[in-house]
C-alpha cells in the first residue's frame, strides 16, 4: 500500500481557510489520482532547513507515492522540499483560498520538450482515467516560437496535431498562447476554472529557471502537482 503524505506545517489561523484543510484536501486529490491512501505528517516548529530535512527523510520512504504541502506561511518548507523530492508533490499556492473538491479540470503546461511530455504523461493519463478534462497549454515565446506559420488554418491544424501527438496523451486538447509562459499558464488556469495544474520540471529554482513553477506557487490560486523529471530525461530535446 502506498500513500500520499499531507505535510502540515503551522496553520495560519488568520486566513479564511485553514491551510491544513487545503493540504489535506490536496493530498486526497493526489492520492485519488495515484490510487493511494493518505497520511498526515505534522511538522514540528524549528529552523526551516531542519524541518525540510526531516520532511524529506520522511517522504523518502518507499511507500510514499506523493506528498502535499502549502506555499503559505512565513517560512514554508515547500521551496526546499520540491527541489529535492523524488516523487510528485502537490503544492497549494500561496494565494489559494480554496479547498480542493476533487479534480475535474486539469491543465498541462507543455514546453515542447519530450522530457516534459514523458514526465507528466502518466499523471495526465491518471487524471483522464479519473474522468477529468485535461487540457494542454503551450505558450509561444522567443525561445520556442515556430519558424513558420504559413497559413492560419492549416498551420494551426498541422502544428497542433503534431504537437499533441508528440507530447500529449490522447483525448487531451491543446490550447496555444503567446507571451510569457508563466503568466499565460496562470491566465488560462484562472479563465477556465482549472482545479489542478500538472507540471513536469527539473527541480531547478535557480535564477532564470522554472518561472512557471515559481509564478504558479506565488501568484496563482490553483494547486500544482510538480512531477520531477530526471536528469537523463532532461537531456532529451
Amino acid at each position: 500500500v502506498t500513500h500520499v503524505t499531507a505535510v502540515l506545517e503551522r496553520d495560519d489561523e488568520l486566513r479564511p481557510v485553514s491551510v491544513d484543510r487545503q493540504v489535506v484536501a490536496a493530498a486526497e486529490a493526489l492520492a485519488h489520482l495515484l490510487g493511494a491512501d493518505t497520511l498526515r505528517l505534522r511538522v514540528p516548529p524549528g529552523p526551516s532547513s531542519d524541518r525540510a530535512g526531516a520532511v524529506l527523510e520522511a517522504l523518502a520512504e518507499e511507500e510514499v507515492a506523493g506528498s502535499a504541502m502549502s506555499a503559505r506561511g512565513p517560512e514554508p518548507i515547500c521551496w526546499d522540499v520540491i527541489t529535492q523530492i523524488a516523487t510528485p508533490v502537490i503544492v497549494v499556492p500561496r494565494n489559494s483560498n480554496q479547498v480542493m473538491r476533487g479534480v475535474s479540470h486539469v491543465l498541462l503546461p507543455m514546453d515542447g520538450t519530450q522530457a516534459t511530455a514523458a514526465g507528466v504523461a502518466d499523471m495526465a493519463q491518471r487524471a483522464l482515467d479519473a474522468g477529468a478534462t485535461v487540457v494542454g497549454v503551450h505558450v509561444f515565446d522567443t525561445g520556442n516560437i515556430p519558424a513558420f506559420w504559413d497559413q492560419a488554418a492549416y498551420s494551426h491544424q498541422e502544428w497542433t496535431r503534431e504537437f499533441a501527438r508528440r507530447h500529449l496523451p490522447e483525448a487531451v486538447e491543446l490550447d496555444l498562447r503567446s507571451g510569457r509562459p508563466a503568466e499565460e499558464v496562470l491566465a488560462h488556469a484562472e479563465q477556465d476554472g482549472v482545479d489542478l495544474i500538472i507540471i513536469g520540471w527539473g527541480q531547478d529554482l535557480s535564477v532564470g529557471r522554472a518561472a512557471t513553477v515559481r509564478h504558479a506557487l506565488t501568484h496563482g490560486h490553483t494547486p500544482v502537482v510538480l512531477v520531477p523529471i530526471g536528469v537523463e530525461d532532461l537531456s532529451q530535446p
Partner: protein, 989 residues
C-alpha cells in the same frame, strides 16, 4: 547496410563440385557482376562455358547486368561464351586489356568503343618489347615476343612446352618456375622484369605505360583492365547501378611475382563500394578489401546462382549508401516518424505513397494519395486517403532500424538493427517504368511477418468520395519461405479519378504489365530511368555536399510530380502528406512550375492544364463578383472554386482568413505561370489558343477590378499581397506590378480587338507600383512607410512566425513582413523593376523580413544572389533546404513543403546561375558563393538538356541541341563549349 560473407573458404563447395545448393556466399543482391574470364569464369579457354552462358542469360532476363573483363579478344571470349542475353540486363565485354568495349545482345556483339593503336604507339610498343627482350636475352634468358595484341605486346618469360598454356589452378607452380628461371638470369622476380619494362617503355616515349603480368608473360601496353572497369563503370552509372551494387569477381587480385595481380586493376576508385571477391588460388593472399573465397569457376557459378536464387526467393535487394545521394534515418523515434514518412514518400504517375514502415505502428500516418483526387469539393475536403496498401504486422515489432532513401534510384530501403541473423529488411519504390505502381518486398525470420492479402491472387481495395472521385489499389502478393527467412512481395497498381470511381479494369491492366515485367526488371528500369533523370537534371557542388544533398532531395520530390498527358494539381505538400488539404495555391504557379520547367517540362505543362481546365470556374467567380474575365481562387481543389477556409488561428488567436477574398495576385500569378512555361519550354514561346484565352480573361479581370481616379491614376484597393501580415491594403506593389504585367502581356498576345488592347495598355501605364524615385524604394503598399519601423531582429532571430510571437495587431502596425512582397517584382518581373533597384530594396526589406512563410528563404536566397551577395544567398538557401529535413516548422509530418523545394531549385538556377530565357535565348550570369569554387547545374531549357559548369574563371556550357546563350556585359567568366552553343555577349535581347 551490408552483410559480410556468410561462409568462409572451408564451407565453400570444392572446386568442380558444382554450385547447386551452394547456399549464400554473399548474402546480398547486387545489380551487376563484373568478372575476369580465364581462371574465374572458365578454367581454360577450351573448357565449356555453357554453365556461365545460361546463368548470364537468366541474370540478364532479371535485369542484372554482367560484364566480362579480359585481356583477350572478342573472338576468344564470344566464341567460348556464346551468350545472347535477352535483356534488360546488359552484357558488356571489356576486352583486349582495356582497349575495346563490346555489348552483347540477343543479336550478337556490338563494338561500343575502341582505343585504336596509332602508328606512334605501334612503334613505341614494338621498340619497348624488343628492347626488353633484348635485355633479357643478353642476361641469358630465352624469351619470346609471342603475339601482337591491340595496344600491347606480350613477352613470354617461360616459352617452354610444359608451360605453354598453364591452367590457373597451377598458378603457384608457375610463379615458382618463372621466378627460378628469372633467378638464373639475375632477376629476383617478375616484378623486377616489370620494372625494367616500365623504365624501357617510358624511355621510349610511353609516358603512361601499363606493364602487367600473369606470371607467364610480361605485357607492355597503353591500356589495362582498369580502363575496362572504368568504361563499364560509366555504363553502369547510366544504368543507375552504383558501386555498392557491383560484385567484382576475379582470380588474381593478390601479388604475383612482385606485381599486383591483374584483377587488382578491377578495383578502381570510380567503383567505390563494390564487393571484390577472389575465387583464385591466390598463393600470396589478397589485398585488403578483397574477399578471398577460392574455388575457381565453380565458386563463380555459385555466386551467379546465389543471385538467381535470391530472385526466386524474393529476397530484398541492396541499395546505394552513398552519402551524397541518400537520406538516412536511424532508430525508431515515434516523435519523428511522421516527419520521415513525409520525407520518404515515393511517388510516380501522380500517386504518392508515404514512407511509413510496413507494420504501420500507431504513431504512424500511412497514406496513399493521388494528385487532384479529393474527398469532396468543399473547403474542408482534403485529398482523398486511399486504401492502406502496405499494412502488415511484424511480431515482435522492430525496435531499431536504419531507413535509407536512395535519391539516385528512388528506392526506399529499411534494415533492422538486430543481433538476429535474419533481421527485417524491406525495399519499396514507386515505379517510373509503370507509373502508379508501387513495388515492395519485405523479409524477416520465418514466423515474424503476418499479412492480410492472399498469396497469388489480386486484391482490390477502393475508396470513393461523396463527390464522385475515387482511389483504388489492386495488390498482388507473393511470398516465399526458405529455411529461416520469409519474404513477401507486393506489386500494387493504383487508379484514381478526380471525378469518377476508380477503375479496377485499368488497375488490372497496369498490374498485369507490372507483374509481367517482374520486380527485378521493374527495379532495373527504376534504376536506369532515374539515372537518366539525374543525367539530365542535377546539381554538383563538390565542396558543399550537404547543400548538394538538400537540393537533390528537393529535386527528388519535384520529380515525384512527374506526370504526362494529364492535368496536375500541385497541392502545397505535393503527394507527401495530407497537409493544406492538398489545396493548390500560388506555390504551384510561381514556385513549383518554374522549377518543373527546368526539370520536367511535361509536368509543367500539366500544371498549366490544371489551371486551363478551371478557367470556366474562374469566369464564374468573376461574373458573380460583378467583374469581367476570370478570377482564379486563392485556394483551388477539384473544381476550381475557391476553397479557402474562412477562419483559423495565428498561434492561439482565432482570426478570420481573408486571403480567399483579398489575395488577388493569384490571378496574375496564374497568367504569369502560363507565359513563363511557354517561354522556358518552347522555342518560339507561342501560346496555345487556350493559354491565350486565359491571358485575355485574366487581363479583363484586372481591367474591371482596377479603379481610375479623377486624376487619371489607376489603383487596386483592398488586397492582400504576399506579405499576409498586412491585410486589406491599397496598391500593393506586387499585386499592381503583376496586374500591370498581365495587362501589358495580354495587350501584345491575347486575341482581342485593338480598342481593348489600347485600353489595357493605357490602364497598365496608369497603374501605380509604389516606386519612389527619391528614395529608390518600392513602397509595399500605400502607407507602409508610415508604419512602425520595426526590424525583425528586434523581436527574434529569423526565421520566425512574427505574428504568432508578437500578435497580429502589433505586426500589422509595423513594417515587419512575412515574406518578400515588393521584392517579388524583382524575382518574377525583373524587366519591369526599375533598373538597379534590387540591391537598395533588398537592403531595406531584408531586415524587415521575418521569413514567417516557408516560401520566403528560397526567394530571398535567389534575390541576394542576383544582388551580388552570394554568401548571404547561400545561408538562406541552406535554411530553405533544412525546412523539411530538420522539420524546422514542426509541420513536416503533414508533408514536404513542395513550394520551398521549387524555390530552392530556382535559387540555384535563376539565383546563382542567373539563368533566364528570352526570345528563345538562354541568358546566364553566374555568381558563386565563396564556399563554392565549383558548381555544375544540369537543367532543361527550350527543349534542350543544358549543362553549365562554373569554376574559377571558367564557364563551360553544353547543350543537347544548338542553343544561343547570352552573357551579361560584365560577365566575369571565360566561356567555352564542346557542343553547338553560341555565346552572345552584351546581355539579353
Amino acid at each position: 547496410v551490408t552483410q559480410p560473407l556468410t561462409r568462409a573458404t572451408p564451407d565453400l563447395p570444392a572446386p568442380g563440385a558444382g554450385s547447386r545448393g551452394a547456399g549464400e556466399l554473399l548474402g546480398r543482391t547486387v545489380g551487376a557482376v563484373v568478372f575476369d574470364w580465364d581462371g574465374t569464369a572458365v578454367p581454360t579457354r577450351r573448357a565449356s562455358a555453357r554453365g556461365v552462358r545460361t546463368r548470364l542469360e537468366r541474370l540478364s532476363a532479371l535485369g542484372i547486368h554482367t560484364a566480362v573483363v579480359s585481356g583477350t579478344h572478342l573472338g576468344n571470349i564470344d566464341g567460348q561464351l556464346r551468350a545472347r542475353p535477352p535483356g534488360p540486363g546488359r552484357l558488356l565485354l571489356g576486352l583486349n586489356r582495356g582497349s575495346e568495349l563490346f555489348e552483347v545482345t540477343a543479336a550478337g556483339p556490338t563494338l561500343l568503343g575502341r582505343r585504336d593503336e596509332t602508328p606512334d604507339v605501334t612503334q613505341q610498343l614494338d621498340s619497348a618489347a624488343a628492347a626488353v627482350s633484348s635485355r633479357l636475352r643478353a642476361a641469358g634468358l630465352h624469351v619470346e615476343v609471342v603475339s601482337s595484341r591491340l595496344n600491347r605486346r606480350k613477352i613470354d618469360l617461360i616459352p617452354e612446352p610444359g608451360w605453354a598454356d598453364p591452367p590457373k589452378a597451377r598458378i603457384g607452380e608457375l610463379v615458382a618456375a618463372v621466378t627460378q628461371r628469372l633467378g638464373r638470369a639475375g632477376f629476383a622476380s617478375v616484378g623486377e622484369v616489370a620494372a625494367l619494362a616500365t623504365a624501357v617503355a617510358v624511355q621510349g616515349g610511353l609516358a603512361d605505360a601499363r606493364v602487367t603480368s600473369d606470371a607467364k608473360h610480361i605485357e607492355i601496353g597503353v591500356t589495362d583492365k582498369s580502363d575496362s572497369m572504368r568504361s563499364i563503370r560509366g555504363h553502369l552509372d547510366r544504368l543507375g547501378v552504383s558501386g555498392e551494387l557491383v560484385l567484382v569477381v576475379g582470380d588474381e587480385f593478390g601479388e604475383l611475382g612482385g606485381l599486383p595481380g591483374s584483377d587488382a586493376l578491377l578495383v578502381v576508385p570510380e567503383n567505390r563500394g563494390s564487393i571484390a571477391v577472389s575465387v583464385g588460388v591466390e598463393p600470396l593472399g589478397v589485398p585488403q578489401g578483397v574477399r578471398h573465397v577460392g574455388g575457381g569457376p565453380a565458386t563463380f557459378r555459385a555466386l551467379l546462382d546465389e543471385q538467381l536464387h535470391r530472385s526466386t526467393r524474393l529476397r530484398v535487394p541492396e541499395i546505394c549508401d552513398d552519402p551524397r545521394w541518400t537520406i538516412v534515418e536511424r532508430g525508431v523515434d515515434a516523435a519523428r516518424h511522421r516527419v520521415t514518412e513525409s520525407l520518404f514518400t515515393v511517388s510516380s504517375g501522380g500517386v504518392g505513397f508515404r514512407g511509413s514502415v510496413e507494420e504501420a505502428p500507431g504513431f504512424g500516418h500511412p497514406l496513399l494519395v493521388a494528385a487532384g483526387v479529393y474527398s469532396g469539393p468543399g473547403v474542408t475536403d482534403g485529398l482523398l486517403h486511399g486504401p492502406d496498401v502496405v499494412d502488415l504486422q511484424l511480431r515482435p515489432p522492430v525496435t531499431e532500424d536504419v531507413r535509407t532513401l536512395d535519391l539516385r534510384t528512388g528506392v526506399l530501403h529499411r534494415a533492422e538493427v538486430s543481433n538476429d541473423g535474419d533481421p527485417v529488411r524491406s525495399v519499396r519504390f514507386a515505379s517510373i517504368v509503370e507509373p502508379g505502381v508501387l513495388a515492395m518486398r519485405i523479409e524477416a525470420s520465418t514466423g515474424r511477418i503476418h499479412t492480410h492479402p492472399t498469396n497469388g491472387s489480386d486484391e482490390w481495395a477502393a475508396v470513393t468520395s461523396p463527390s464522385g472521385g475515387g482511389l483504388g489499389a489492386l495488390a498482388h502478393q507473393d511470398s516465399r519461405r526458405s529455411a529461416r527467412v520469409r519474404s513477401v512481395q507486393r506489386i500494387i497498381a493504383v487508379d484514381g479519378s478526380p471525378t469518377g470511381p476508380p477503375r479496377v479494369a485499368t488497375a488490372r491492366r497496369t498490374l498485369a504489365r507490372a507483374k509481367g515485367t517482374g520486380f527485378e526488371r521493374l527495379l532495373a528500369g527504376q534504376r536506369s530511368t532515374w539515372a537518366g533523370r539525374w543525367e539530365g537534371v542535377d546539381v554538383r557542388i563538390p565542396e558543399d555536399p550537404e547543400t548538394e544533398l538538400g537540393l537533390r532531395f528537393a529535386l527528388f520530390h519535384l520529380w515525384g510530380l512527374s506526370l504526362k498527358g494529364s492535368e496536375l494539381a500541385v497541392g502545397a505538400r505535393a503527394l507527401t502528406g495530407s497537409g493544406y488539404s492538398g489545396h493548390v495555391f500560388w506555390d504551384a504557379d510561381v514556385f513549383v512550375l518554374p522549377a518543373l520547367c527546368t526539370i520536367d517540362p511535361p509536368a509543367a505543362r500539366a500544371v498549366v492544364d490544371y489551371r486551363l481546365n478551371r478557367l470556366a470556374a474562374a469566369r464564374d467567380r468573376a461574373r458573380a463578383e460583378g467583374r469581367e474575365g476570370s478570377r482564379f481562387p486563392w485556394e483551388s481543389a477539384v473544381d476550381g472554386r475557391d476553397v479557402t477556409p474562412e477562419a483559423g488561428y495565428v498561434g492561439g488567436e482565432q482570426v478570420p482568413i481573408l486571403t480567399g477574398t483579398l489575395e488577388e495576385h493569384i490571378t496574375a500569378d496564374v497568367a504569369w505561370a502560363v507565359v513563363h512555361q511557354a517561354i522556358w519550354t518552347r522555342p518560339g514561346a507561342r501560346l496555345t489558343k487556350n493559354e491565350s484565352l486565359l491571358l485575355r480573361d485574366t487581363a479583363r479581370y484586372w481591367a474591371s477590378r482596377i479603379t481610375t481616379d479623377p486624376d487619371g491614376s489607376a489603383h487596386i484597393r483592398g488586397v492582400i499581397g504576399p506579405d499576409e501580415y498586412h491585410e486589406r491594403v491599397d496598391d500593393n506593389a506586387f499585386t499592381n506590378a503583376m496586374a500591370r504585367w498581365n495587362l501589358r502581356t495580354a495587350a501584345h498576345h491575347a486575341p482581342v480587338q485593338e480598342a481593348e488592347r489600347a485600353a489595357w495598355s493605357a490602364l497598365a501605364e496608369a497603374l501605380a507600383d509604389g516606386y519612389d524615385a527619391t528614395s529608390g524604394l518600392y513602397e509595399q503598399f500605400q502607407g507602409y512607410f508610415d508604419l512602425q519601423p520595426l526590424l525583425v531582429r528586434e523581436i527574434a532571430e529569423p526565421p520566425v512566425a512574427a505574428d504568432v510571437l508578437a500578435g497580429r495587431e502589433v505586426i500589422a502596425g509595423s513594417q515587419l513582413i512575412k515574406q518578400p512582397d515588393a521584392l517579388m517584382i524583382h524575382h518574377l518581373l525583373p524587366d519591369d523593376a526599375v533598373p538597379g533597384s534590387l540591391r537598395h530594396n533588398l537592403d531595406f526589406y531584408a531586415p524587415r523580413t521575418a521569413h514567417g512563410s516557408s516560401l520566403s528563404p528560397a526567394v530571398m536566397a535567389l534575390l541576394h544572389a542576383r544582388a551580388g551577395q552570394p554568401d548571404t544567398a547561400l545561408n538562406l538557401l541552406r535554411l530553405s533546404l533544412r525546412i523539411d529535413l530538420d522539420d524546422l516548422g514542426g509541420t513536416t509530418s503533414a508533408g514536404v513543403h513542395i513550394g520551398a523545394c521549387g524555390g530552392a531549385w530556382q535559387a540555384v538556377v535563376t539565383g546563382f546561375l542567373g539563368a533566364r530565357v528570352s526570345r528563345g535565348w538562354l541568358h546566364l550570369d553566374p555568381i558563386l558563393p565563396s564556399q563554392w569554387p565549383d558548381l555544375e547545374v544540369r537543367f532543361r531549357c527550350l527543349d534542350r538538356d543544358v549543362r553549365v559548369r562554373v569554376s574559377d574563371s571558367q564557364m563551360v556550357v553544353n547543350a543537347s541541341a544548338p542553343l544561343t546563350v547570352t552573357l551579361s556585359p560584365d560577365c566575369r567568366y571565360q566561356t567555352s563549349t564542346s557542343t553547338q552553343v553560341r555565346f552572345v555577349p552584351g546581355g539579353m535581347p
